[in-house]
């Protein structure tokens, strides 16, 4: 296993890994290449990666003008940020109470949390849609955010983490005269950053990518999130204008991929830690 010896086994291993990586990266390579191809290039030479007529500007202009990309990305940011802030503000006090305070509902809460972990948005979407329709709140940030303000997964994750925080720390804070909210803000949260970061990554990846719920509650472009906007763009393009389509996918995929490449270590830690839910 030393890095110096170069055996046949190792050559095979490296070949397999590189070949696999090439296949996994191929969609990105073709996305970038096709985003710069003119329509004629796309039809004549599928396998050449370098565009013959550089059309990046034309394709990106199309992508940016047909559907307002800035609105889409902005909506995505707003929705993900709102969801995350609410989730954390609601889950952390609850998890703290369950982990560190004695009260009768704690056991019941545990049961509810375990039950809640089972239920994805797909199962609750119908009644929520009917209710939101009656309340006339479809097509709003409220409709996009509200059902996700409660994250049982968040409660579960924070609960596990808070249990490991020593009781003495909390007792000491109480003796100093801190209120329970003060303890959460100044003792618990600063000690729980790894869990909060992990949860942030989990939450943002999940809601940035979610198509099901936005598709149900949003029917116009004003509040469309990135996945939904891309569907509209596809519908508007109708034909095989893959150059413009690839430019649009490139713009929409870029933010999260860039965030991932910049903070890889955190992402991987976050996924390993929160791997519980898909």
């Amino acid at each position: 296993m030393s890095a110096q010896t170069f055996t046949l086994g190792r050559a095979i291993r490296l070949f397999l890994l590189s070949f696999g990586a090439l296949i996994f990266l191929a969609p990105y390579i073709f996305m970038i290449s096709t985003a710069g191809k003119a329509q004629s290039d796309i039809f004549s030479s599928s396998l050449s990666l370098i565009p013959q007529h550089w059309s990046y500007i034309a394709n990106f202009t199309k992508a940016l003008t047909r559907v307002s990309m800035t609105t889409l990305l902005w909506n995505g940011v707003v929705v993900c940020a709102l969801i995350f802030v609410f989730q954390v503000m609601i889950a952390i006090p609850c998890a703290y109470a369950m982990a560190k305070l004695k009260f009768r509902a704690a056991r019941l809460m545990m049961v509810l949390v375990m039950l809640g972990l089972l239920v994805p948005i797909h199962a609750t979407a119908l009644p929520l849609y009917v209710a939101f329709d009656r309340m006339a709140v479809l097509n709003s940030y409220f409709a996009l955010v509200a059902p996700f303000t409660i994250s049982v997964f968040g409660i579960f994750l924070f609960l596990q983490f808070f249990r490991a925080i020593p009781d003495d720390l909390i007792h000491a804070a109480r003796l100093d005269g801190m209120s329970e909210l003060g303890i959460i803000g100044r003792v618990i949260v600063p000690n729980a950053w790894p869990a909060i970061t992990a949860f942030a990554i989990f939450s943002v990846v999940a809601h940035w990518n979610d198509l099901y719920w936005p598709l149900i509650v949003i029917s116009n472009q004003t509040y469309a999130t990135p996945p939904l906007g891309l569907l509209y763009f596809r519908a508007a393009e109708a034909g095989d204008d893959y150059g413009a389509l690839m430019a649009a996918t490139l713009i929409i995929t870029f933010p999260l991929v860039a965030a991932f490449l910049l903070a890889q270590k955190r992402f991987v830690e976050g996924i390993t830690m929160t791997g519980l839910k898909g």
Binding site: M1, A3, R13, L14, L17, G20, A21, F24, L25, P27, Y28, T34, F43, S46, I90, P93, C94, M98, L101, K102, F103, A106, R107, M110, G116, L118, P120, H122, T124, A125, L126, L128, I150, V152, L159, Q160, R163, E180, I184, N209, L211, L215, I216, P226, P227, L230, Y242, L245, A248, T249, T253, L256, V257, F260, F267, I271, T272, G275, L276, G278
Partner: protein, 310 residues
């Protein structure tokens, strides 16, 4: 991971409830109240509502509804679209889950034993997890295009006439499965890598002393048993995620051609939110929930029996 949660044992002795305890209990209630309210509002009540609605003929846009007992369920049993949809979901899951698990395990072991390029490989395989699936599905649609797509262009170089991956009813599930595997391998890989790193090196040395000379013996005697909990966990997630396939189907095929790619969530979506037959769609949702409950139950059962080495 869903380990057994120990309720912290109460350290105080069972005396009368002091003022401090009452205060603590009240604070506990106050702090968890928002979560409890939202939990009821957005999870428990809606689930109860879905179950109730599944016994009605409620349709959105109509005012009244009738209780129809188990009629919706009886209808589901004979509904060809729904049966097709269950079958397609099963086939999709039967392909995507095992392939993405074993591919991830294999790659994780290769990466683990390789000294160079470790983080590069991890990044490359994980990238699809961090990418917008709807967007990447669009890229795959181009790759799979029957005439101008690079996949078939490559196959033509080898003198093979590639199929219409997403447009022919006999191939569409395979096309979608390839995308599904591509998308989920990285996630499983990262979990397996974490599991592999946790295996103590001495175990391999001990196995070597005990006569496990071949790589296969080492895998059979050390790696596989030690990875047990990780594998179970990865399996559950992979199966559940495969059952929940929706994005690629909605983006690329809309259940077609000729219902060849109807999958469970897509059928529910169509029935409930396009045709607005809420009662009927609720019955389908209940079936979906039951499937999830069974899968979780199986996981707990296996986990209970599993031997833990650590």
């Amino acid at each position: 991971m869903a380990e057994v949660i120990a309720i912290p044992s109460s350290f105080g002795k069972a005396t009368t409830r002091s003022a401090a305890e009452r205060h603590e209990s009240r604070t506990g209630w106050l702090l968890s109240m928002p979560a409890i309210v939202l939990l009821f509002m957005f999870i428990l009540v809606p689930v109860a509502a879905v179950i109730l609605m599944s016994f009605t003929d409620y349709e959105l846009g109509y005012t009244g509804f009738k209780w129809v007992g188990f009629d919706n369920y009886a209808d589901l049993v004979t509904n060809r679209t729904f049966r097709r949809s269950l079958w397609n979901t099963t086939v999709y899951t039967a392909i995507v889950a095992p392939v993405s698990i074993f591919m991830a395990l294999g790659l994780a072991m290769l990466i683990e034993s390789e000294g160079i390029g470790r983080s590069f490989f991890r990044t490359a395989y994980f990238l699809p997890v961090a990418s917008l699936l709807v967007a990447m599905a669009t890229v795959w649609q181009y790759l799979f295009h029957p005439t101008i797509g690079p996949v078939n262009a490559l196959l033509r170089l080898a003198d093979i006439e590639g199929p219409n991956w997403l447009g022919a009813s006999s191939y569409v599930l395979y096309g979608l499965s390839i995308i599904g595997v591509w998308q989920s391998v990285g996630f499983n890989l990262v979990l397996f890598l974490a599991g592999l790193t946790a295996i103590p090196r001495e175990l391999y040395a001990a196995a070597h002393v005990d006569g496990a000379r071949s790589a296969f013996d080492r895998f059979r005697l050390v790696t596989w048993p030690m990875l047990g909990p990780t594998t179970l966990f990865v399996t559950t997630i992979s199966v559940i995620n495969a059952v929940k396939v929706f994005e690629t189907v909605k983006t690329l095929t809309e259940g077609g051609p000729n219902k060849a790619s109807e999958v469970l969530l897509f059928t529910i979506y169509q029935e409930g939110f396009v045709y607005l037959r809420v009662g009927y769609a609720s019955a389908m949702t209940v079936v979906f929930l039951i499937i999830l409950v069974i899968l979780m139950f199986l996981q707990y059962r296996i986990q209970d029996r599993q031997v833990h080495y650590t």
